[in-house]
């Protein structure tokens, strides 16, 4: 049997014609901002790497306060290519978050959340929250000092939320303190709950993208634009990007293997230079600057409410930006987006410069 006979045979049983038609119908508009269309796919590729390397790590990782640190040490020193797999998992996690941020801010600034793509945006924001959850829960898994205190601070912040704080804190920690029980929970979130959620929402996100096609920024909407077929032209370009990313990952992992640090100890002082992962640094830095009391309220409570409000704003942007919904330019939302971006970048730089 030759290839086309096999394809026909499978097709007669699986009925893949609609899928193929769909893939061939998809086109990508060409204009001066088209380069941003690559970042969603890049994030998807890096996520696939996370799933692959994550499953490999599962084979040796042991989720308990007694064993976690030693098992990661074992992966790094004894398991053949263990250092590579772990370093790629860590580097790819960070690159993935970076490409996700680029993808998200470019979608924001090109107002890709305009009708009829509100739900694409909402599902994307949910993916953002879940991916940050991946980062936060994964950080604790090696059970080292930095991660231990970062988790203490992070979960204590959840505890400050008015009303449900105590519940949230105990739910996240699996008790009142950060202990082995917390590690077990975070492990469960990291390798089961979040992957299941992300798979479901990712599917929805991609479905919406496919249904509505690529959005064109308001300044170009309505103008005649050239397009490129997604299969094979754009997809091949995607693949080139992925190949580059894979090369970058391998180089980063080989030149800068991920560090492990010192094992966590509940009876040691927090070490100097303690920091969360870089994508939380802007919030961390803000908390440093807030005074103990603002009026009658603890400074951190206000800070947390402000970030919570910010997250809610981000989720609801498509419904708040009435201007661009009506096809008008909405300078205010562009300005807000740029200010948020500057704030995040600025605070992150300050956090590292100290």
């Amino acid at each position: 049997m030759n290839l086309s006979a096999i394809t026909t045979w499978v097709n007669d049983r699986a009925g893949l014609e609609p899928l193929r038609a769909l893939a061939h119908k998809k086109t990508v508009p060409l204009h001066r901002h088209s380069v941003w269309y690559y970042f969603g796919g890049m994030t998807l590729f890096l996520f696939a790497i996370q799933v692959g390397t994550g499953i490999l790590l599962l084979l040796y990782y042991r989720p308990s306060a007694e064993n976690a640190f030693e098992s990661v040490q074992f992966i790094m020193t004894e398991v053949r290519f263990g250092w590579l797999v772990r370093s790629i998992h860590s580097w790819s996690a960070n690159l993935m978050i970076a490409t996700m941020f680029v993808h998200m801010f470019s979608a924001y600034l090109m107002k890709a959340y305009r009708p009829p793509r509100e739900l694409t945006w909402v599902s994307g924001t949910l993916l953002l929250f879940i991916v940050l959850g991946f980062g936060f829960s994964g950080y604790l898994l090696p059970w080292n000092k930095l991660a231990f205190f970062a988790t203490k601070v992070g979960t204590d912040i959840a505890g400050v939320v008015p009303g449900i704080g105590t519940f949230l804190l105990r739910f996240l920690r699996g008790g009142d303190e950060v202990t082995g029980a917390t590690l077990t929970r975070f492990y469960g979130f990291h390798v089961a709950v979040l992957p299941a959620l992300v798979t479901a929402i990712l599917f929805v996100h991609l479905y919406f993208v496919q249904q509505r096609g690529m959005s064109v920024p308001p300044s170009l909407a309505g103008k005649p634009l050239q397009t490129m077929k997604f299969v094979p032209n754009f997809f091949l370009r995607d693949l080139m990007g992925w190949l580059l990313a894979l090369g970058a990952l391998a180089a980063l992992a080989a030149l800068f293997p991920w560090e492990l640090g010192e094992k966590a100890d509940a009876f040691a002082s927090a070490p100097a230079g303690i920091k969360p992962e870089w994508f939380f640094v802007f919030m961390f830095q803000t908390l440093k600057y807030l005074p103990a009391k603002i009026g009658a309220v603890d400074g951190e409570v206000l800070g947390i409410l402000a970030f919570g409000g910010g997250g809610l704003f981000w989720l609801l942007v498509p419904f708040l930006d009435r201007q661009s919904a009506q096809g008008k330019s909405s300078r205010w939302f562009t300005l807000i987006g740029i200010l948020i971006l500057l704030y995040i970048v600025g605070m992150t730089i300050v956090g590292y410069a100290e």
């Binding site: 912040i157 927090a270 070490p271 103990a292």
Partner: protein, 148 residues
């Protein structure tokens, strides 16, 4: 038009009501235990009233030491003038464990640069409250710390 209150529609209503309530009850019976399962059971705190935190001889003036007070860390401080004090080592800001800074002669939290003086009072940075102070008794060479 037919009267809508025929026996058929009331019977339909009745059946819908039964199905609806059973569905509701099934959902509650399924999710209530799951929800409760997620919340960790309270662990009875070891109510140790006092501990031997350190030996007098191991603590130099102008130094500090973390000790275990039940399941929580405490900090012993020997001031430059030789007085021994004990506090909870849990920062009142966001739960990090504080340390004694010898050069600056104060208690310091590395997480957000919080500072406490040698009486445990929050003097700089984000901590909103002083550290809880414990009672210190010296018996022979033993430093005994107790609550209250």
């Amino acid at each position: 038009m037919e009267n809508t209150n025929t026996p058929v529609t009331t019977r339909r209503k009745f059946i819908n009501y039964c199905l609806g309530t059973s569905l509701g009850a099934t959902l509650v019976a399924t999710f209530y235990p799951i929800f409760k399962f997620l919340v960790p059971p309270p662990i009875t705190e070891s109510t140790e009233a006092s501990v031997v935190a350190a030996k007098v001889s191991e603590l130099k003036p102008n130094s500090g030491k973390i000790f275990k007070f039940g399941s929580k860390p405490g900090i012993l401080v020997k001031t430059p003038s030789g007085e021994i004090r004990a506090f909870s080592a849990t920062c009142t800001h966001l739960d990090c464990t504080v340390q004694y800074k010898e050069e600056a002669q104060h208690i310091w939290c590395a997480c957000h640069n919080g500072r406490y003086d040698l009486m445990g009072k929050n003097v700089a940075g984000p901590p909103p409250r002083p550290l809880e102070q414990y009672t210190v008794n010296v018996r022979g060479d033993e430093i005994i710390v107790s609550k209250g």
